[in-house]
């Protein structure tokens, strides 16, 4: 029987189950495992669960070394914004280590970080930096939008022999969802149709999937059936599933919390333009953050970010075109 649990609980459950399954999995990061009463410490001991100093370069770089000698580190980095401090270790070390060795080594690392905390966290803690990671072949990037995907993708990420940037959306942290009880693994590189529809395709990631589903519900009241596709994995991108939907509907709106020119939406639009042009009945429409840093004040924050209303309007726009 599937049970309902919060997104964050599903993530933690995946880590615990994988640590039980495989003694080479270790978990460390800042401000975790602080007392002996910590459930992870109790279950796995202080060798495998560790609190680190605020040293992102060391935290991420040590994962590379630990992976080289056979561990499978899961690094808790809290926020992708903090990863920027030591980004060389992700983009130019972890992502390159196997390739430059001619395939001699594996890099089973999970860089786990939250993103997109658009709740008044202002300019430095709200960013959606995923396009940075997409520029480093060798990395895989996942961004689950539901509790079930959060658990299944964490399990897949830990079992993967490549470095995986696991992005959890802060505003989904407490959102409940049904999670299958068995060993639930979501394959990396597989998109998911979150809602079926024939009139228009909405491609959305992370928190924006909820927005897209809410918009789809509103549009259904107007007789418009929107299909919502969640790529779930940003690298490698499942363009086949997206193209299949666009071929069916002929119209597409791409929703992304990142600023337009650093969005996955722009990338997917290019893929659709190249491979699905003949199926299109209207130009694709992007609903992204405006090209500003995310401001502090609530009305300004809302102005900059995509919203249900902006998605609904964009859908009406592509249907009218």
């Amino acid at each position: 029987m599937p049970r309902e649990r919060a997104y964050i609980e599903a993530i933690n459950e995946a880590i615990v189950e994988e640590m039980q399954r495989d003694p080479s999995v270790v978990f460390y990061g800042q401000n975790i495992a602080l007392t002996d009463e910590d459930p992870m410490v109790k279950a796995f001991g202080r060798q495998r669960v560790r609190v680190t100093p605020i040293s992102e370069t060391a935290e991420m770089g040590m994962a590379v070394g630990a992976a080289l000698v056979g561990l499978r580190p899961v690094v808790e980095l809290l926020m992708t914004d903090f990863m920027l401090v030591g980004l060389d270790q992700v983009l130019n070390e972890a992502a390159r280590m196997r390739f430059k060795s001619g395939g001699q080594v594996a890099m089973p690392i999970v860089f786990k970080a939250g993103y997109g905390f658009a709740a008044g966290w202002s300019v430095q803690h709200t960013n959606c930096w995923y396009s940075l990671f997409l520029g480093a072949p060798g990395l895989k990037v996942v961004a689950p939008s539901t509790a079930a995907d959060a658990k299944g993708l964490m399990k897949a990420a830990i079992r993967d022999d490549n470095p995986v940037v696991y992005l959890h959306h802060y505003l989904l942290t407490l959102v409940p969802g049904e999670v299958p009880d068995d060993d639930h693994v979501v394959p990396i590189g597989l998109a998911d149709v979150k809602r079926a529809g024939d009139d228009v395709t909405i491609v959305a990631t992370g928190w924006m999937v909820q927005h897209a589903l809410t918009a789809a519900q509103q549009l259904a009241g107007e007789g418009i059936q929107a299909e919502v596709v969640d790529p779930r994995t940003l690298a490698p991108l499942d363009t086949a599933t997206i193209l299949r939907s666009v071929e069916k509907t002929g119209r597409v709106v791409l929703v992304d919390q990142a600023p337009r020119h650093a969005s996955v939406a722009a990338l997917i639009a290019a893929e659709i333009a190249e491979a699905g042009f003949r199926a299109l009945k209207a130009p694709p429409r992007l609903v992204t953050a405006l090209d500003y840093p995310v401001p502090y004040s609530k009305p300004l924050e809302e102005h900059v970010l995509p919203s249900v209303e902006k998605i609904v309007q964009a859908v009406r726009g592509v249907l009218a075109a």
Binding site: A58, G61, M62, V69, Q89, G102, G138
Partner: protein
Amino acid sequence: MEPLPYPDRDRLLWMYRQMVRVREFEDRVKRTFHEHPGMIRGHTHLGDGAEATIVGALAALRPDDYVLATYRCHGYLLTLGTPPAQMMAEIYGKATGLCKGLGGSMHLADPTRGFLGTSGIVAQGIPHATGAAFGIQVRGTDQVVLCFFGDGATKQGAFHESLNVASLWKLPIVYVLENNRYQAYTRVEMEDANAAAGEPLAVKARAYSMPGLTVDGTDPIRVWQEVSTAVARARRGEGPTLIEATFYRLSAHGNIIVPPPVPLHFEEHEAITVYKDPAEYEAARQWEPIPRFRALLRELGVAVEDELRDVEEAARAEMEDAVRFALESPWPEAQALECLYA
């Protein structure tokens, strides 16, 4: 503390053989720029002058220990037993290269011999080595990691963050700081507060509550002794040590950095080209590790002239074969790229 053993005859001869092989290999790489122009691309860095530190330090290891180093990496692999033919083929970008031609000179890796790899970005391999030591600790074995880096790296956050964690967690690692007096083209006293104050760089260890010491990096026996002590300490679970080995880099930082079609080559050392101080360079040459060690072996009666000459001739023949193998090897096919993901 146990008295330090003196290396036996076999180990002394092994050290000499490795030092000569490293020098001969680096000479062949350097000669390639005019003997086979265009064959070596990008940026290549040589370890001539570092032979005593490389060989002395690695002589302190067990075969199951790990080594990580920098883009100036040829000498460690040669000493650990990587076939020079595969190394030269990699530097020439050939399919038979150690890393299938994907890495080149800066990125040699041979995990089968404990050499886990390098970073081409200054200091960024130090956390990798520290993480390998973390892995050893989690697995509960008594292996040790040797982590090599230069004086310039000690101004990077990666160095400081790593030493802090290693000392905090008592990780089984020995940091070998190769102070060759120049950070690329900049003299160490121009960019290091300790050096500017006339102090050794090893004092940085104090900030992380770990032992720090300075050793003459042109004397393989002293290096071997100090690294052996630090390795034994790490193996006992007592934590890391920072060893500063001082020597003088005898080649320029790397080949010249120019865009094609300008042919690449090595210029004179920066002491001459930048600082117009040939006297400094000549003084360093008088203190070269290999002739001094050779004289010592003769003096101690470890080897006679013929034996030493055999070692040198064998190294020349070995590296000649390596160059021929690299030249005759095929170029890689695009299929080599498919190893990107495991």
